[in-house]
Symmetry: C2
Subunit: 520 residues, 2 copies
């Protein structure tokens, strides 16, 4: 494996082995019947799972209390804007110095069209959505070792890969290599489809000419008036294309969780958490660091420290508990659950992800390179550069996602640097793709999820073996406690996993509460 | 050819043979030096070509006068909104009854990222742009004769086509059928790339399972909590897929002029013409029907009737003339140009295109089917259904593009109906794809370009032979007259062709004017 291949394939395989299929079994707004009189629920964590649980349980008539570590609602649903301050584990504090309206989402940043739970809550809470540009044919694919390190336009790599595949398969079909697999009648249709789909010429060849250039782009674009005739560009040879490894980035927009149409909240993903926060108001107690969780046959209690008021400890009690604390944190908190759930909580390691936001003095990617949204993939340690899907064509400064690092080695490497060093490294690497970086860089901010105090990782890394052994034990009730969050779903890393796990958990909680109420 | 194939392939081939390559040779804002003192230009037509010519020539200091047939600026750059009235050839008047903020663009409706001229003028004139969703994996491909007439999701057809192509080519590669074309080392990389790109399993087969379903979608989506495990869907067999003809729609989003990221003006394409209209103010004389164009060695004059004031004829004169009247109209207006240009004007037939806008009582395509923007392609005479790329998730009514017909037979058929019949037919056909049509239809409007008085067709249909014989004669100066418009470009049907042809024309005009001024 060379070029992009190693990293991208590894990521892809990792996503698969994680069960990261990215869809949702959301069936529409939940309709709980009325809560038993006086029934109460303690919700631990005000991330997406906790917020959904609290919102729906309150609507059903439960007395709800939410405890949240941070001073804001949303958890990993979070947007950093100018003026925000953030202190990571180890004590380093960064102040975001972005211009007004500019932001990055350190955590989730996009909503697939089939994440119906998230989309439904956005609609109900009045969070406006706009398209998120995932695939941009004019963004780059880049490898340090291919094409002399020169970034290639995605459209050219895609057209050339499809074209060569079509030409080879047409040749095999015409050469009767597939006679056992494809009937004579189907062969004619297959050839038609390959010519059309692969942009082959009338001889089923992928060559320099109008067909290939209407996909990959021209050497000189056609125009109007005299001297407006186009000049054709030359496709890359198959061997060079294969060896470049750049093809590894082509399927990204085809994956179910990355397909168009995707969305983002106008103003940043954090708008969703904020909207829930406004809705729930004083039901959420912020700055509450959970010290212990204890249940008996009648109730669940949680003891916490108030981080704002100092170390005074307080304890709150309720009939039931929906615990949404990430397993990375929860595994460190004393909680009297039985062996199976305790083992499940301890079994799941957390991904080390990292994002760097970079503000530049102008939107040079649009002005100089006609890149409007989308993602450039690279085999540099920064992994990708993502261009904003809002304020297109705006004058003034702009913010790029200058690094989005998933792989273990590079994310650990970056996490071990100071925030300022991470930003500097992202600028240094990115300037290999966009030389304008050097001149136009303004300021940056870096969030390493391993060092985020409330999460200590960006999502639960399920292996197939772990899931087979522990998943049901993690999700099932233990006494009066049920867990929810992306870690309790088949959609790890996605907010939709948190939402659907919360809906599943409260449905079961409600049925238990009704049964207990009837028995009492 | 069966299913969608005939129509789509014909369209695609037509686009190619028309030279519809859809890019632009725009090189950045034009910089004309100062106009010769007192020099004047008559611009005929206030479509995109005329507006750009008038704007730039005025900025350079020319005395500019624009004559326009319609009562508005923009020409085919046009948006129909509630309250608008439109009378077609034959005298049928329609009043648009769409709700506030809803619209259709009867003419151009999208701006590719590389149409730098159009994008540049939008920016300079303050026309806000938003993404236009061209490709939507959750929209449909539909054929009356395939899959029992049941629409298929684009994602499933795309995944299955790619998967089968990859599996077949992997088989041919492993079977040594391509040993002469691909080296041994490259074969290993080819197999890797096919497995990854085609979503094959570890045995290089495209089968029901996590790989294929992560592209085509699931039978039951995964979710959170207990009972959240996904159920896999079964790919369509290669033969059924080939015979469906649905593959013919797959390359649309890959064509250079249809690739992401595309844009549309917020509020409709007509915003561009309106912005130019405001900018040029009283330089544009509206309701002016040109009767005759005459040049002598000193000047050009145009005689027109004022359609608003009645039939009073008036004549205006200027040193030079940029004539942007569509050839379909211009060929009927007396104008003393020499044989070559006159022959070129007469040589180019015009496309009969047709669009139908349909308002529905609710956005059922979003609410019921999770289709957010993009296009459904069908072999029904309506050709396609396009879903709005704005106001996503909004409550209330919505407007679809319920028909966009290019092919000769269906567009002539629809053009020969009354507007009300066209709307009724679009509803009848569309209900085969969206049964909700019957219940939710509210009102509609239909524009057949053959019957638009100011254009009599939607764009100039260049054949390769015609272009070889006539194009340069059409674009070259004849005395003091130069033509501009999409018809005078290698980008027919696209506004960018009009823009770049106008820039090319005025550049040559300016050089002639300077030379004439220096000689005088």
């Amino acid at each position: 494996m060379i070029g992009l291949t190693a990293g991208s394939t590894a990521m892809y395989q990792a996503m698969h082995s994680l069960g990261l299929a990215a869809e949702s079994n959301f069936e529409g707004p939940v309709k709980l019947s009325a809560a038993p009189h006086g029934a109460s629920v303690l919700v631990l964590g005000a991330g997406m799972a906790g917020l959904v649980a609290a919102y729906e349980l309150r609507n059903a008539g439960y007395r709800v209390q939410v405890l949240e570590y941070n001073a804001r609602a949303g958890g990993r649903n979070w947007t950093l804007r100018g003026g925000d301050r953030y202190t990571e584990l180890g004590g380093q504090t960064q102040e975001c110095r972005f211009d007004q309206d500019l932001y990055i989402n350190p955590g989730p940043w996009r909503l697939p069209y089939h994440h119906r739970g998230m989309l439904s809550y956005c609609k109900r809470l009045g969070v406006a959505l706009e398209p998120f540009v995932q695939i941009n044919h004019n963004a780059y694919l880049h490898s340090r070792t291919a094409f002399g390190g020169k970034p290639q336009r995605l459209r050219a790599v895609k057209a050339d890969f499809n074209g060569h595949v079509a030409e080879l398969l047409a040749k095999a079909t015409q050469g009767n290599a597939l006679d056992a697999d494809v009937t004579a009648e189907d062969r004619a249709m297959l050839l038609d489809s390959l010519r059309f789909w692969g942009a082959l010429d009338k001889n089923y060849r992928f060559v320099k000419g109008p067909e290939s250039n209407d996909r990959r782009g021209f050497a000189r674009d056609p125009g109007g008036g005299l001297s407006a005739r186009p000049a054709f560009s030359e496709p890359v040879a198959l061997s060079d294309l294969l060896r470049s490894g750049l093809w590894a980035a082509l399927p990204f927009g085809e994956m179910y969780d990355m397909q168009t149409t995707m969305f983002q909240p106008v103003g940043g993903m954090g708008q969703v958490g904020q909207a829930f926060g406004r809705e729930l108001g004083s039901l959420i107690r912020y700055n509450a660091k959970i010290i212990e969780i204890h249940q008996d046959e009648h109730a669940v209690s949680a003891t916490f420290e108030d981080l704002a008021a100092g170390s005074t400890r307080q304890t709150v009690r309720a009939d039931w508990c929906v615990c949404t604390i990430p397993l990375s944190i929860l595994s460190q908190i004393p909680m009297n659950v039985d062996g199976p759930m305790a083992k499940a909580i301890a079994a799941v390691p957390y991904c080390t992800g990292l994002k760097v936001g970079l503000q530049f003095k102008r939107r040079f990617w649009e002005e100089d390179e006609q890149i409007y949204g989308g993602i450039t993939f690279t085999d540099l340690p920064i992994g990708q550069i993502s261009y904003p899907s809002s304020h297109f064509f705006a004058a003034g400064k702009g913010v790029l996602l200058g690094a989005y690092i998933w792989d273990m080695i590079n994310s650990m490497d970056f996490s071990s640097m100071t925030p300022a060093e991470r930003v500097a490294k992202a600028v240094e690497y990115g300037s290999q793709i966009h030389p304008q970086y050097t001149q136009e860089f303004d300021n940056g901010i870096a969030v390493a999820w391993h060092r985020v105090p409330s999460a200590m990782g960006c999502f639960g890394l399920w292996s197939d073996a772990n899931r087979a052994e522990h998943y049901d034990n993690l999700c099932g009730f233990d006494g009066r406690i049920v867990l929810a969050g992306e870690h309790a779903s088949y959609l790890p890393a996605w907010q939709e996993g948190a939402v659907t796990s919360a809906l599943d958990a409260i449905d079961r909680l409600h049925r238990r509460a009704l049964a207990a109420g009837a028995a009492a």
